[in-house]
């Protein structure tokens, strides 16, 4: 297992380096940040002086060399607009996204596992059909529409909840719910399919014959074996959320990493984009390793050697 862990870390580092190089060069194809930062009527001489001061005139290879040597000292660069370390800016935004994702994924797993498992008990029964319909609808609803409609209904018409911001528990209700609905629909369907397979297996028939309670059969014996594909899909959904639930962050005014990345790309803040990519990539790599360990816990037959 230790060997596996070391191997995964090495592969993750290689992927990270590749990602950083790719983002570095791709970003610089999109134009000079000075063009956005300076007023449109800036004389050419001042534009060039500014570019020279910030190393924007250097060849892309020289810029990359400088960046790589700074990166080795964990210096991810400074934002042009804010003149603050890019890493500081990213780490200010990331906890909000992490918390949003954590709350949402907890709710997603709880709802989809229960609903999917109970639906699988009687395939094509009434409950199964209702759950399948709701799951399909949930997976199809666009987030931005849902976010705006939920603000309209719950904040403006009913005035039950605040429109936006992060002040209190009430502020988190709508954003978390909006973020939950789509992955809930997707994962519920995966749980349902997986559980139907598990519930039709021989060991479940044996358990039934031995008089084991229905609840134990579903949530102890069958569910554990059905969880492997669910963890894969859940991991994928969690990674999307960690990347930044941009729509939710923009609509509800959550200062998360998704919005930060969009704004930084729009403003050609290359260093902030790069810092955000690195931070998000590291977290996703850690999450993927944890999911691998979860597989082993769920099915001891799996060995990562």
């Amino acid at each position: 297992m230790n060997r596996y862990l070391v191997q995964r870390i090495i592969y993750s580092c290689v992927s990270l380096v590749g990602l950083v190089v790719l983002v570095f060069f791709l970003a610089r194809l999109t134009g000079n940040p000075a063009d956005l930062y300076l007023p449109i009527n800036t004389p050419i001489e001042i534009r060039e002086e500014f570019s020279k001061l910030h190393g924007l005139n250097d060849s892309v290879w020289v810029q990359f060399g400088q960046y790589a040597s700074n990166l080795a000292r964990l210096d991810l660069g400074e934002s042009l607009r804010q003149q603050r370390p890019a890493l500081t800016i990213v780490l200010e935004a990331f906890p909000t996204t992490l918390m949003l994702s954590a709350y949402a994924m907890t709710l997603v797993l709880a709802i989809s596992i229960i609903a999917g498992s109970l639906a699988a008990r009687k395939p094509n029964g009434l409950f199964d059909r209702i759950v399948s319909l709701i799951a399909l609808a949930s997976a199809s609803i666009p987030n931005f529409w849902l976010a705006i409609v939920s603000v309209l209904v719950f904040s403006v018409w009913l005035q039950w909840l605040p429109t936006s911001g992060t002040g209190s528990f009430a502020h988190w209700v709508l954003p978390v719910l909006v973020l939950t609905i789509r992955p809930c629909g997707i994962i519920a369907q995966v749980v349902r399919s997986s559980m139907i397979d598990a519930l039709s297996s021989a060991y479940v028939k044996t358990a039934r014959a031995k008089g084991v309670r229905k609840r134990s059969i579903i949530f102890v014996h069958a569910l554990r074996n059905a969880m492997l594909p669910v963890m894969t899909v859940a991991g994928d959904q969690a990674a999307s959320m960690i990347n930044g639930a941009v729509i939710v962050e923009m609509i509800f005014g959550f200062p998360g990493i998704g919005k930060l990345m969009i704004d930084s790309i729009s403003n050609r803040e290359f260093v902030v984009v790069q810092a955000a990519v690195i931070v998000v990539a590291v977290v996703i790599f850690i999450m993927n390793i944890l999911i691998d360990f979860t597989y082993v816990m769920l099915d001891p037959r799996i060995r990562h050697d």
């Binding site: 134009g31 007023p39 050419i44 001489e45 804010q82 705006i148 403006v156 911001g165 005014g253 200062p255």
Partner: protein
Amino acid sequence: MKTFRIGRFFTVLGGLVLALSAHAQGTSRDIKIVLATVLDTAEPCNMMTTNDTGIVLRQNIVESLTQLDPKTGVVQPLLATAWKPVDEAATTWRITLRKGVKYHDGSDFNAEAVAAAITRLFSPQLGCRDRIRLFGKNTLTSKAVDSHTIDLISEQPLPLMPAYLAQIGMTSPKMDSLKLSRHPYGTGPYQLVSWDPSQNLIVKRFDGYWGPKPEVQQATYIWRSEPALRASMVAVGEADIGTAIALQDANNPKTDFGYLNTETTRIRFLSMSAPLNDVRVRKALNLAIDRKAFVGTVLSPSAMPASQYTLPNIVGYNSALKVWPYDPNQAKQLLKEAKAAGVPVDKEIILYGGAHQHANAAELLESMVKMWQDVGLNVSLKMIEKVQFGAMRRKPYAENRPPTLFHEQHDNSSGDAIFTMNVYYHSSGQLGDLNDPRVDKLIEEGSKSVGEKRAQLFQEVNKIVQQDIVPDAVLFHMADQIRISPRLEYRPNFTSGGKLELKDIKFKK
């Protein structure tokens, strides 16, 4: 019975709490303003060129030496009480400073402080955008005459120095000149309390302010990029002012107000190649646009068709010029004449626009393209991203460029047409492609003149540009929408898009 009495007690208590909190909000002298973009800089030397930073800082935290009357554009005293040119070339101006003014950090406002503020503005490490926009390659230095008199010395003649001074914030001499500030200190009626770029910025009334005490005690600025959300926040009482709300959300005449801002839009013709190098085609482009059709539909009902690229209250505005009429028949006739003379009127012309310019920009341009196609022109639209758009608009232009149009927007809140003409109509301007010696001469003469002579020279430029050369189709003086809580007495003016003075906000009795 006992349970009923306890229940009734708590019901009454709950109602009392709710009523009291509603009353408290109604009588509170604190307000909340929701902006459209994240406030990622609070640096005063960028406040003129960053809209939402200007809304927060200008004349609230950081004041300038002079200010422009929003209605007339006339320069008025603020931190300076008098000014005069020392030499005939107007390279040196003597400024008399207001006495008894203190900065928020306790420093005195005097000649030394003004000198420090000017030096800071020109600091290469800061790369101040306001300085670049205002002065370009020109420099400004200072020399104290006494504690409250200072000479400002420009390398090039600056007859408009008083108007320039309305755009320079007088920052505290203790502020760092090497790093962008994250806590600006000024002389304004409000001082910064806290700023969390992820949440909000809070200012509170400065008790040591030299002027009258404003009614608003504390203002909290927050930011939401979705315009419908900004409008909703005011509607449900979560905010008191929502800036830049969308036209389709401005549906309550009691709270929603449209106002002309300082932006004017136009379609610029890059007239280097056929058919745009023929004045008949350029006139036809103007005549084919039904400008009135857009007002109140795609654009705010407060927007105004424009006859020239500056606002009516700007020195140099020519009130004798009229907006191009909508006359598609005349447009067709001109194109017919041009075609008969061998001009390739059906050659493809590409119109470049940016969705970032203003709300409904794409819809406006699509409709305009259809209007041009209806009179027989072959125009197609390309909406492009802002960096690419900026690079294409600026000199040097690409060689052998096809016939090109640009949809542009220009902000002149500085009170004088020179800020427009130098950039867009002079042959050395970064964003124009005119090369007319008449126009250059008039602009150069005007820039050295003052008073009525200056105004007349610039009016002549506007007349030649509109009627003889026709390098563009000036479209609209643009308008913004703002939503204001019913508990406030405040009406926006044309500067409110870049400056929202808290001292102008009163509470209804």
